[in-house]
Symmetry: C2
């Protein structure tokens, strides 16, 4: 594959549909140096996932049956948002563990939604069944070239914005975001994968082979809890000798708190995982090493407005929302 | 005064102590055009106020008795933070209406803190008494040249970051931030003041004279609830024919919700007031008019981590915290 060409094409394709998310040079967090950060969690639907979703939809013709996606929540919200923006249909399958905040977010887009008992793998099977029955186009959350190329635009954009870092820390679930980053950077900068100890898909695959399955759990499971690393990511991680650093859930929760207390960024656990590798000391940069942290998701549970009884009234269309909860049948 | 020279000097002085806060070009919010935003609420202590606090401290010798400030909360946190960073003493007087989140924030810095019954004006009187008794240096929240020059660095920085807007919308309490903006811009761009209907200090002063007092109330009162506009701001607003647009509390609450739902920025009401002027239609830009919104504060009530029972354990020093609550005496 010519990843550079694919990511350039993706950037052009999705340009009018995504935000160029802000970056900052930040000191604090108890670290011995300033770090660069990109606040990709301010992207539409609160995560980087819309990049891949728009790229997947815009690169191919839309089937009459629309799109289908399985998701721990963020990818589903992104596919639902992109489908609405492009006037197309989408059916999203999420596991129960996606949680009320992400489920409400998907509902707010008007997409069809099915809540599936269990974890992400069950939602994926249900989505594959729907795909086979209806002819809808499956948009994979992380293991499809168009998805990875779309996510790769995030690092492309960051370099355009003047990224200086030698090393970029990125949280890993199924590997779409870091896959895109590795595909774009092609070894020009070091990429460090950060995973929760409780959802170490890449770490396990690098140690024991690409088919290694893990039982994901813990506070970031609905975003980083794939059962197996994506093949695309695994290939790229092997090619570029990527290390996966593990962090405990406590470290993630602490980084989440630090992002609020020091930078007023309220993120979900997955969004704080990359920072946790630094603040917990799991990754110790060398002298003079310039480090960047990608903040990737902000759909925390509970949603701060839902909690305050201030659920969106205006501005969050719910037109055509059709929801079916197969866990209740 | 040579405001440009004063703001240039302030920028140099505070450079190592503040963050260059991120900016973004954003569409959404139901608006008919993209707007520029600066996320100054990601500044240290969650508001622009540290700019003026550091400038005031670094421009003059520190008295033995340290500093004193009266504040609805954000200025107090900023003075406390700056004092700690510079190894100096600070005593902060806040009204009860500052609320638990801001009071906890000030406490976390280790500053001496006195909670005063009533509104900001009572805290200011108490701070003036303390100043007279101790010889501490008063750092006024908005009506002192060093404070205004410090806040002026915010617009200076935004222009360095490539601000394109014809018009910048800024929330007004006592007028420190907008005063600094007017002083820096000197009419090169239009500045629109935005005030809650319930705390219309500048609006009232422009209509009925600089001494006009208002009874501030409403959801943004602890940040925008000065009783009278600062003289410096009033002079600058008159000189540059600044309009003050009023927005109801509901519009502010709605803009607060939109900032979360669309951009994942959790801010306090004052931080959303400038955006509310656009989303509520109180300010309607002309065809082709490029508009920017300054997001200025993010110490919402309740603090999302306090609420979740996750009050800061590490990383938020409380050393030497001495608190006296004169409302209880």
């Amino acid at each position: 594959m010519d990843w550079k060409a694919d990511i350039d094409a993706a950037a052009l394709r999705i340009h009018d549909h995504i935000l160029r998310t802000p970056t900052a040079r930040v000191n604090g967090f108890g670290l011995d140096r300033a770090i660069e950060m990109k606040f990709e969690q301010t992207q539409h639907t609160g995560s980087f996932k819309v990049r891949g979703a728009f790229n997947s939809m815009l690169a191919t013709d839309a089937p009459v049956a629309g799109y289908v996606a399985a998701s721990g929540g963020n990818h589903g919200a992104a596919v639902a948002h992109a489908a609405r923006a492009l006037g197309r249909r989408a059916h999203i399958f999420v596991p129960e563990m996606a949680g009320p905040a992400k489920i409400a977010l998907i509902r707010s887009t008007g997409a069809e939604l099915t809540v599936v008992p269990g974890d992400y793998s069950g939602a994926l099977r249900a989505a594959q069944g729907y795909e086979a029955r209806t002819g809808a186009a499956q948009i994979h959350a992380y293991d499809a070239p168009l998805t990875v190329a779309g996510q790769g635009t995030c690092l492309r954009e960051w370099e355009e914005q003047g990224l200086e870092a030698d090393t970029v820390l990125i949280a890993v679930g199924g590997g779409g975001l870091i896959g895109g980053a590795l595909a774009w950077l092609q070894g020009r900068r070091k990429v460090v994968a950060v995973e929760p100890e409780t959802a170490a898909t890449l770490h396990s695959a690098l140690a024991a082979g690409p088919d290694t399955q893990v039982e994901a759990s813990g506070i970031a499971a609905n975003a980083l809890g794939a059962r197996r690393i994506g093949r695309i990511c695994h290939r790229l991680a092997t090619q570029y000798a990527t290390n996966s650093i593990l962090v405990p859930d406590d470290a993630i929760a602490d980084a989440q708190r630090l992002l609020w207390c020091e930078r007023r960024q309220l993120v979900e656990p997955a969004g704080a995982a990359a920072l946790a590798a630094l603040t917990w000391g799991a990754y110790r940069p060398g002298p003079g090493e310039k480090v960047a942290v990608l903040v990737c998701g902000a759909n925390p549970e509970p949603d701060p407005f839902a909690q305050a009884g201030q659920l969106p009234a205006a501005g969050q269309p719910t037109i055509g929302a059709a929801t079916r909860d197969i866990s209740r049948e």
